[in-house]
Symmetry: C2
Subunit: 344 residues, 2 copies
Amino acid sequence: MINKEQSRFLGIDIGGVNLKYSDENGRGKIIYFPMWKNFRQLKDRLEEIREKTNPEVVGVVITAELSDAFENKAEGINFISKAAIDAFERVYFLSIDGELSNSIDDPLRYSASNWVASVLFLRERYDNFLFVDIGSTTLDLIPVKNKVLAAKTDFERMKREELIYIGALRTPVCCLFPEYRKLHLAAELFAIVADAFILTRDISQNEYTVETPDGRGRSREECLSRLARMFCADVDEIGESFIIEFAHEIKRKMVKMISETIDRHLSDYNLKTVIGCGVGEFLIEEAMKEVKGMRGMKGMQTEHQAEYISLRRIYGKVSDLFPSFAMANLVANLVAGLPKEDQE
Amino acid sequence: MINKEQSRFLGIDIGGVNLKYSDENGRGKIIYFPMWKNFRQLKDRLEEIREKTNPEVVGVVITAELSDAFENKAEGINFISKAAIDAFERVYFLSIDGELSNSIDDPLRYSASNWVASVLFLRERYDNFLFVDIGSTTLDLIPVKNKVLAAKTDFERMKREELIYIGALRTPVCCLFPEYRKLHLAAELFAIVADAFILTRDISQNEYTVETPDGRGRSREECLSRLARMFCADVDEIGESFIIEFAHEIKRKMVKMISETIDRHLSDYNLKTVIGCGVGEFLIEEAMKEVKGMRGMKGMQTEHQAEYISLRRIYGKVSDLFPSFAMANLVANLVAGLPKEDQE
């Protein structure tokens, strides 16, 4: 008998920074888990998740193999999949080709497949679209037109701007602004974009879920002080308003990168629909205003303008951990399609 | 009686990354001391230096107040100067105006004064020059013409390109190359420029004195793998030669930044002499080739071309810790100039 409080299916997205899990109904959680420091505790942490959720069947997608905890991606996939197999009774892994398998043959086929889960889930509901997912650290842009058009490795996706390694929380400010107003800013991990988004009020302190660069708190004052350090200065030396302007420039720059990339994909594949999710969805929403604006300026008709579908509006907070939610549904479907005797 | 093995004077440069100390004869050492993690052990470490060197008079310059171990620079200066006063019997601090004092009145006057020590020392030997010191993390460019022309705070110097926050070891590659060949590289601290300089053979593994970003070793293979991760790739995926080319591009970009900045200062102040030092002196030497080349291309006479003075050639390895060596000499001079009864 199935306990109504508990779901049979669980999806887990094992990333380099977070463990995200969800059942097929979207009840889930993000656990900050910096793989580069904590990888030895992965199995224990997965077992805690098992005890808490007690799933029958688990679906796992992996992106943490890129973490420098591992010498190379194959080592990463092997380590992580073993931890999952040890922690759960019945576990499936999703390959980059969209296949679910309960064992790992060629580890690299299971590298960076979390976006595949999201896209497979969405394809059952939408036809042609650009899927955009911005997490704490990275941005995926996956064009789907009749079939999935993205490349299959991180490096190939990077080349095609289907993967941009910027995110809504952890991106070091010095990577976005080596120069700002003709100043060479400090090439040092003094501040991350989450510090800016506290000042622009796009995120709350609770949403600043990653470590602060200096180990201090997440208050407005502490964020100001981290951003001031990018100018080798105390807050008083350069003034609050200068720093707040800088925070808005950080946001503008990210929004511009995102909108330009969305625009390029829409035009390359002649797509009209963008589906967005992730903890940084506020950036996608901002970017979409500019995408539409740009199209408008080119004199295109209103009916050709891009349409934006927010997964947060449809599914709620699980949009922040969408691949795990999608994965729970994929394994649920898989099990439903199995012969009766294999379902339990 | 003075022990011939021991000097009476010691200079210490307390930076955010290293403790550098030297006596007035250039016998010294660089101790890797990441202030942001280890600041609580500062006094102990200074006491170890005292026991080892047994100096009578110590001169201290401070740049570590910018470390995010401290809430602001004043807190940093106060903490560090207190540790020095507790650790040594007789200690002088150098202010940004070039004054030596055995107590700290206005802490900000003692912020970021290590280049002042070097320049005061050099002014006794050279007239007009551009002093260029590139350490593990930062680059100072100080114009001297009849008087010291640099600004007096880090932020003001940053504006005037007298401080550029790039160095020969710790600079994150993602700050230099947010984009490379139209790729957005990973905005992540996967690799630092020291990884590139191992591959270009500009530094040895022993000279890679700072932590590696992934905590692994400093071998060629390990550096290759860190740089590959900037492309979200294993080494095999992109190939060694691609990575080695990238390492050379990193060097070229830094050399270009340095040469352009040197050129600007030489031309702004009509200076002809560059005096260089620091663990990254190889970059200054490379940059000088381009400075001369640029001047040559503008059709200037040979006698107007910039002259380069390498402090490493003159003083040997102490060039890597020049401010501490200079500081030891400054306190030696100070004591020599005091009335007899105050000298001992």
